[in-house]
């Protein structure tokens, strides 16, 4: 194997390693984003329901549901899991 060929292999290995690091970062971002999007969808759905309840003459239910939507948006459903 010539020095040039060994150098090429070395560069290729470095590129593969960089690719792996890139994949790890992208994976973490993907998972975090998916969970955040799901939370946002649930919050939007709860707020929409709150509007319906208010319109149907259930103001207390609407208020509390809106309050819970706000709490979920702040991540309070996760805080209770913390020790």
């Amino acid at each position: 194997m010539t020095d040039a060929e060994a150098g090429n292999i070395g560069r290729l290995l470095a590129e593969l390693s960089a690719e792996m690091a890139h994949m790890r970062e992208a994976h973490a971002v993907d998972v975090a984003r998916a969970a955040a999007e799901e939370r946002a969808a649930v919050v939007a759905w709860l707020r929409k329901e709150a509007v319906s309840h208010r319109r149907d003459g259930f103001p207390i239910a609407a208020y509390t549901m809106q309050e819970r939507a706000d709490a979920i948006e702040r991540g309070e459903h996760r805080r209770e899991e913390e020790p």
């Binding site: 090429n8 560069r11 994976h27 975090a32």
Partner: protein, 130 residues
Amino acid sequence: MGIDTDAMRARLRSYRQSGFPNYCMALDELEALLSEIEAQREDAVVYRSVETSLTLQVEELQALTQRMREVRKSAVQAAVAEERAAIAAWLWSQSVATHDYEGSGNTASSVYVAAARAIQDIGYLRKEKP
């Protein structure tokens, strides 16, 4: 004839541009493949086998890409399901607390129960999405 590293780099670039997804078990395999390649580098006299191996590894990368996509899909689905379950459980706990405090027939409590059940039901929630 040497290794066509330009072609390999071009292929890697195309993986990256296509998102070259993901990881977990597949990453472990990739690391093992890299170690194998590095081990072969130590044995420089068998250049031909290194060349063959490298070519095979890159081809294997292509197959791994597909597997990684599947792993990524599963991981994302699991994260979504876990977030949904956490919210549903929390809403349910709020429901029980409100029910205990205000007694049976409480409207807000019923709302929480309905919401928690709806959120656990993927189809119900998805219908509300555009």
